[in-house]
């Protein structure tokens, strides 16, 4: 794959024939593509971890037990009320303040002092708070009749959630979650502030070598837009299949009486 990119880069360079900014675009293509890849990786990994954290938090949030909903409320409030940049710095720089953490050996050297994992941790915790709030709304929006039907069938509470409520809630959440993923894509640019070479980081790196500010910032902007468009498209497709019951009938059918 990477050899192919290098070949493509060389071919594009000869094609550009020294005309700027195309020649520089071609020369730094492998770096920029690595950045795109890292950005996507950050979103997907922290998105999945975030969803896994969001589910228990959303469930805690809708209970009436104050020992459960209050911590969930506090978590959501903290992560939605503070800037993502503060959260990233809290994880990446902040944790080093604790002597006991620095002496945990493997956990410290391989995970908590690595910018990659710090970014993943911060993004996951952040998106988990937003997703939990979406999920809570979706669970509460599941039509009452469906829950009553499940109850009258004698399904245990856990089964009600697993088979009826949660699948419905995931369908309801989907459009709003698509928005959240786009916000995560935009937020992922902050990974560059803790030395990661995501698309933003790679772009700044290239600019430091070429001094071509505008050209590469605009290229990055274009690539972010492209990624956003692809993600929006993917969510449209997912919605088409998951929310099949809500598909709008084709226009042809509208004429039939």
């Amino acid at each position: 794959m990477s050899e192919l990119v290098v070949l493509l880069s060389e071919w594009l360079q000869t094609l550009a024939g020294g005309a700027e900014p195309w020649a520089s675009y071609a020369r730094y293509l492998p770096r920029i593509l690595d950045g795109v890849w890292l950005t996507l990786e950050l979103i997907v990994v922290s998105g999945l971890i975030g969803l896994a954290i969001a589910l228990p938090i959303a469930l805690m949030r809708i209970t009436h037990n104050p020992w459960l909903w209050m911590p969930a409320y506090g978590y959501i409030f903290f992560f939605r009320g503070t800037p993502l940049l503060v959260q990233i710095f809290l994880v990446y720089y902040g944790l080093s303040q604790f002597e006991s953490l620095r002496e945990t050996g493997w956990l410290w050297t391989e995970v908590l002092s690595q910018p990659y994992w710090c970014a993943i941790i911060a993004f996951s915790l952040n998106t988990a708070a937003y997703s939990a709030e979406l999920l809570r709304g979706a669970i509460l929006a599941v039509p009452r009749g469906e829950i009553e039907a499940a109850r009258s069938l004698g399904l245990p509470r856990a089964t009600q959630y697993r088979k009826i409520i949660l699948p419905r809630a995931f369908g309801i959440i989907l459009p709003a979650y698509g928005n959240e993923v786009i916000l995560m894509l935009k937020g992922s640019a902050l990974a560059s502030t803790i030395t990661l070479l995501d698309l933003m980081g790679a772009t700044r790196n290239v600019i430091a070598r070429t001094y071509m500010n505008m050209e590469f910032f605009l290229l990055a902007g274009f690539l972010y837009l492209l990624m956003a468009a692809v993600l929006i498209g993917l969510f449209r497709v997912a919605e088409h299949f998951i929310n099949a019951h809500r598909r709008v009938p084709r226009r042809k059918a509208a004429g039939l009486k």
Binding site: V86, F89, Y93, L185, K186, A189, M200, M214, F217, G221
Partner: protein, 225 residues
């Protein structure tokens, strides 16, 4: 929490953050209104412009926007005028944040404008009000009521996005926390303090927004049982 004598630095940073947030809010609202007017205007190129603005800003990270304006605009001015003009981080921050705010506010205002019954405007025309008076006296007061919840959310987002401007060296709350953390080697303490201040600002803003909403809805309260 012992702030090692850096408390006043955080407070001065908070003041800069607030100035940044409110200045951007003002210009953002202007841009949003202009964007919404363009989005519903009968002139097609204006509508395209509004759509393009909206789509672009939804997909581009705010951090990139801050950097484009801070570094890019300097370069652009240099290319045009031939002289190096350094753009102040505050100005760049206000420009970036209001452009981002304006894009989302365009949507909020657009849907709010569509909510106002057509009869209201027709009544104003029938009374012989001029276009500008119709907008100022009939449309705008009602626009507020519908747009406030959406704008409130956007302001909370804006407040948090101000932290991004610290990346280009503006001495806001985030940057002061960074400086203090570097000096004292107590990063967790200072970032937590900054987080606490952002939370307090968020809570205050939420209270104010709630009051504004109640005030804007004062004519409607009796109608709902």
């Amino acid at each position: 929490m012992d702030l090692q004598g850096f408390g006043h630095l955080l407070l001065s940073g908070t003041w800069v953050t607030l100035q940044l947030a409110f200045t951007s809010l003002f210009f953002g609202l202007m841009l949003g209104l202009a964007g919404a007017a363009a989005a519903i205007s009968p002139i097609a190129p204006l509508r395209w412009l509004a759509t393009t603005y909206n789509t672009l800003m939804r997909g581009i990270p705010e951090l990139l926007l801050v950097l484009i304006i801070y570094f890019g605009a300097t370069e652009l001015i240099e290319r045009i005028t031939g002289s190096f003009v350094e753009i102040n981080a505050f100005v760049a921050g206000v420009a970036a944040l209001s452009i981002a705010f304006g894009a989302y506010a365009t949507e909020v205002f657009r849907s709010a404008l569509l909510e106002i019954p057509k009869g209201q405007r027709e009544a104003a025309v029938a009374l012989g009000l001029r276009r500008w008076d119709t907008f100022r006296r009939i449309v705008l007061p009602q626009l507020w009521r519908v747009a406030l919840p959406g704008l409130g959310n956007l302001f909370l987002v804006l407040l948090k996005d101000t932290a991004l401007v610290s990346v280009v060296g503006l001495d806001d709350l985030m940057r002061q926390a960074y400086v203090a953390a570097g000096f004292t080697k107590l990063p967790f303490t200072f970032y937590m303090a900054a987080a606490g201040i952002y939370l307090i600002l968020t809570i205050i803003s939420m209270q104010v927004i709630q009051r504004l909403e109640r005030w804007a809805n004062r004519g409607y309260q009796g109608a709902r049982a």
